[in-house]
Symmetry: C2
Subunit: 200 residues, 2 copies
């Protein structure tokens, strides 16, 4: 039992330590040797936990998506706030977050989506499912907001969630490219306009 806890800790240590490497250098850009060195584990130990580099990549993405879900729910736990305010807290976190920094700038989806889409069918599916679940969750929040009155009822919650995600994903990529947060601020401004009631 103790061995199993230690074993789990080593696996977790490999995932945690290599996250930053992959975030900065991409998946193909980080060699196995570099991971082993950063994590201070021997090659045999790595292959004990992960059958291949791709299996490691899958585990890294699965953990990222699971952590992301927890972060979003933590952010949205203040149910005394309006849905509008809770939704805006998410986009504000994409720009800057006191705990995790800018979610957009530290996002494995932004960094890896284009790269893994043509590289690994398993990794692509994990990211795609993760994004699908996230936009579905945003849509459910929008529905809640429509019942509560803080989100306009003329909007299709599922389409609106998808549009917002696409807008923010593009903004995050532009922020990486321009090394400037202006695209994220513009996405925030546009999101506020999207969520405005129809002018009667």
């Amino acid at each position: 039992m103790k061995r199993s806890i230690k074993s789990e800790a080593t696996r977790q240590h490999i995932l945690d330590t290599s996250f930053e490497l992959v975030l900065r250098k991409g998946f193909v850009g980080v060699g196995l040797q570099e991971i082993l060195k950063a994590c201070d584990v021997p090659k045999g130990s790595f292959y004990h936990y992960f059958a291949s580099k791709e299996a490691f990549g899958c585990a890294l993405l699965e953990q990222y998506m699971a952590d992301y879900k927890v972060r979003v729910e933590q952010l949205w736990q203040h149910t005394e706030q309006s849905v509008y305010a809770r939704l805006m807290a998410l986009w504000q976190a994409w720009i800057d977050d006191p705990i995790y920094g800018s979610w957009a700038e530290n996002c494995l989806i932004v960094k890896l989506a284009a790269e893994v889409s043509d590289l690994s069918e398993d990794m692509r599916q994990i990211l795609n499912l993760g994004v699908h679940r996230l936009t579905q969750r945003v849509a459910l929040l929008l529905q809640e907001g429509q019942q509560q009155g803080s989100i306009p009822t003329h909007l299709d919650p599922f389409k609106t969630a998808q549009v917002m995600y696409q807008l923010w994903l593009g903004a995050a990529l532009m922020t990486k490219l321009a090394q400037d947060k202006a695209p994220l601020h513009l996405a925030l401004e546009t999101t506020k306009q999207l969520l405005q009631p129809i002018q009667e």
Copy 2:
């Protein structure tokens, strides 16, 4: 003189042949050996034209952005059409184009932005400048449309161009990830809404 023409042809052959490789496998994901083999040129020849793999990457991106500019201007040459129609022709080409296929799916910006942003300052700047020029060009077209009457005057042309680009960039990335063009169609629908006149 003849040598110089032949020399230019070889350089062009390397750039043309490797485009598809880089588009599918990314920049780091394509090794020099693979490029040499695909282009059927010796290593010395490659280094005659490009000082380094990074210099080759810069040349590839510069050529891509220059070609992109030509393609956009060709698409917009039908000045008898409304600006709205010409703008929509661009987004329609992102979804599907009879000559180049889907611009979104065959886009080096979509494929490489996240990867090169942390990898090569020179490559990042080429892509960033290219995108900046493209959105400025879209903004000028929007201004023309405002004078002509097919684009609503309440829109800020520069912000609107930027917002559209972010939305479409995100949609293109989602299309890669989902292997489904639905995000592009949703971007088209959203673009049409963005360009609607204010309901009085």
